[in-house]
């Protein structure tokens, strides 16, 4: 049996775009607030339903839908941070974990009430559309998701590096107290960062809905994969997340040459354990070490 390795690699690279898009928000929120956002899966799921409503019910172009979904979820994130999450910001971390887990369950149940447990899928004229490059079939939907993943990375890097708010977010992530001392409104910064994290999760959900079927339980397994990527990337770095996504996607894809596909998740979690033990700073930490030496 000869596996088409170039096709497998192309598929892995496209998958990395999806992995990165679904993990940016998780890394951003952890980076600034040191909170593990368990509601991330719920937000991705709501992002998928929002896209479903806009595309299937309102007839919107599938690639324009995120332009409406993302701002709406940005404000939802600000609301969540200001009125809910802020109350447990300085409590032991178990409080925020439980709170966000509770929010996820509430989101799930609201979806069950609103949309029932039926499996939904978005079908557009681009669904199943492919083009061939050197004999490899490339899906339009997957390519768009990959491009959006790269674009999100570039936009976030520009935002973080060139704007006052971006720099304030980075400063707060490094040292909240010192940031306050130099006059940064850290409460505002955290609101914006949380809003951006939620907006990125909704972007991932609305794009994933073009590829996967979904129901109110959607996002659970993606959240676990997101944790692996964020740890692999170095917890707080956007570039790290992108690199982590690429490494994980390629490792999973090539693993089928030696192990059965059912063990793909084993590869992710084995990588997670190895990274936590061998290089707790993730890939970005490792690269920084190499630079120093």
């Amino acid at each position: 049996m000869t596996i088409d390795i170039p096709a497998l690699l192309v598929s892995a690279i496209l998958l990395a775009g999806l992995y990165a898009t679904m993990s940016y928000g998780l890394a951003l929120i952890y980076g600034v607030m040191k909170i593990v956002n368990l509601a991330h899966a719920g937000v991705m799921m709501w992002g998928a339903y929002a896209a479903f409503v806009l595309i299937v019910n309102a007839g919107m172009n599938p690639f324009l839908a995120p332009l409406f979904v993302v701002p709406a979820f940005f404000f939802l994130g600000i609301f969540m941070q200001r009125y809910i999450v802020r109350r447990v910001m300085f409590a032991p971390s178990i409080s925020s974990l439980l709170l966000l887990f509770g929010i996820w369950l509430i989101m799930q149940n609201i979806s069950y009430l609103g949309f029932t447990g039926d499996t939904r899928a978005i079908t557009t004229k681009y669904t199943l559309m492919t083009f061939q490059v050197f004999g490899i079939a490339i899906s339009i939907n997957r390519l768009v998701v990959f491009c959006v993943g790269v674009l999100a990375l570039l936009v976030m890097r520009q935002f973080m590096g060139r704007t006052y708010m971006g720099k304030a977010i980075r400063a707060t992530a490094q040292d909240g107290d010192a940031s306050k001392l130099v006059g940064i409104n850290t409460d505002r910064v955290m609101e914006i960062a949380f809003g951006l994290g939620i907006a990125l999760a909704s972007l991932a959900g609305s794009l994933m809905a073009l590829i996967f079927a979904f129901d109110p339980d959607f996002g659970r397994s993606h959240l676990l994969k997101g944790f692996c990527i964020v740890v692999l990337g170095g917890l707080e770095s956007m570039v790290g997340v992108a690199l982590g996504s690429l490494v994980l996607a390629i490792a999973e894809a090539l693993s089928i040459l030696w192990i059965m596909p059912a063990l793909q998740d084993f590869v992710s979690f084995a990588l997670l354990v190895i990274v936590l033990i061998v290089m707790p700073g993730g890939m970005v930490g490792l690269l920084a070490k190499f630079k120093k030496t």
Binding site: T130, D217, M260
Partner: protein
């Protein structure tokens, strides 16, 4: 007055002694027969749970409209009271609710929930308290391999599904539509459901090496995020036919990639999946010609199946799917078992279930009966999706509504 005071009770006693035949017991007359079930009415399985509720309610209403279930011990028909709780698609809650049904509600018998994990969990309660239990929502053979005596299931096993699929394939080979030996690419979700499916195909392939050669056999994790590695293996296997077992979300994810990768096989099947409207909407023409197996279909041309379909669709203004059909039939089977037992004694109802032979049933084969392990062993109905959202029943021959299109036309 004094003499009359002695004489009157004596007269009443004599009168009663004349009325009651010798040997008859004096028993309390139950006002109702209580059946109970916990169904996933909310949560992840709410769609299926809702269907089961409708099926149970329709059957019980029908029985009660006819005066109830005949119980010989009391010499009369007794109406059925149906208690349904919502287990929220949660195993622990399901077990607790079945405990409640037995301990607090004092049910005479239990009807089942939906889905292998829930049924595996709560059947322990029925067995522990020795309460007869019939379900129409748990097919996995593992449920019935625990040597339980009070558990009965009206869905044939997943292994049987694989057997039906392979027997049909054999028929296609004999008809010259498929070659011998056939190279098979096989995969199934990494659950007891998928494992049984793969085992069934492998057993049949091993028994007929001149007909079948399984060139790929892979389990995969549910909620697939990337079907490419799996499908690259399918592609590399150069199989003639492609047999998979997947739940609906994975079926959509995998078959979208299958189509994008421009794979082709002479037969493609996802086991029980194929005809679901959500999948047909999501896949469009890519779902045409997919072959599937199921326990029931609304187009089965028997009188019992048609009667159920018409009544259900009129009552609920909803398409009759297999879920309410099998729930309806499971409730009717339980009522028949009570009638056959002629008593509300739980052991005797259990014995009646073990000897059950219900004719003119809506199930495939028209007959409900149970193997010694408590599971029915009927054949599946096989279907093939046709262009334009149509479906044709292709197997068994006696209920077929069309001829299978094999090999699938290459697009």
């Amino acid at each position: 007055m004094k003499r009359f005071g002695f004489f009157f009770p004596l007269l009443v006693f004599l009168f009663y002694a004349l009325l009651v035949p010798p040997g008859a017991e004096v028993v309390a007359q139950p006002k109702e027969v209580i059946l109970g079930a916990a169904l996933p009415i909310t949560g992840g399985q709410s769609r299926e749970g809702g269907y089961f509720k409708k099926g149970y309610e329709m059957a019980i209403k029908e029985i009660n409209d006819a005066g109830g279930v005949m119980v010989k011990q009391y010499g009369k028909r007794i109406p059925i009271k149906l208690i349904i709780y919502d287990d929220k698609s949660d195993n622990t809650t399901s077990v607790q609710l079945y405990e409640k049904l037995v301990a607090e509600d004092k049910v005479n018998a239990l009807l089942g929930g939906y889905g292998t994990p829930l049924i595996t969990a709560h059947t322990v309660v029925a067995e522990k308290y020795r309460v007869p239990y019939v379900n129409g929502g748990g097919a996995t053979g593992a449920i019935y391999e625990r040597k339980m005596k009070y558990i009965f299931g009206t869905l044939a096993s997943i292994e049987k599904l694989a057997f039906t699929l392979m027997e049909w394939t054999t028929g296609q080979q004999d008809a010259g539509a498929l070659k011998k030996p056939l190279r098979i690419a096989l995969m199934g979700e990494n659950t007891s459901h998928g494992k049984e499916f793969r085992q069934g195909v492998l057993k049949k392939a091993k028994a007929a090496p001149d007909r079948f050669n399984v060139v790929m056999d892979e389990p995969f994790e549910i909620n697939l995020k990337d079907a490419d590695p799996l499908l690259q293996k399918v592609k590399a296997s150069q199989a003639d036919i492609y047999l998979a077992d997947a739940r609906i979300a994975d079926y959509i994810t995998i078959h979208r990639r299958y189509t994008e990768l421009r794979l082709y096989h002479q037969v493609a099947s996802y086991g029980p999946r194929g005809t679901e409207q959500a999948a047909r909407d999501a896949l469009g023409a890519a779902s045409d010609y997919i072959v599937s197996c199921n326990w029931w279909h609304r187009d089965i041309p028997t009188a019992a199946a048609k009667a159920f379909r018409d009544k259900y669709e009129k009552t609920y203004n909803d398409t009759a799917e297999w879920f309410p059909a099998l729930a309806y039939e499971s409730a009717r089977v339980m009522a028949k078992a009570i009638q056959d037992a002629g008593t509300l004694d739980k052991t005797k109802i259990r014995d009646a279930l073990a000897k059950m032979d219900m004719k003119d049933s809506l199930v495939v084969g028209g007959r409900v009966w149970y193997k010694p392990n408590g599971q029915i062993d009927n054949e599946y109905v096989m279907m093939q999706n046709l262009p334009g959202g149509k479906v044709s029943l292709i197997y068994p021959k006696d209920i077929a509504t069309g001829k299978a299109i094999v090999p699938i036309p290459q697009k």
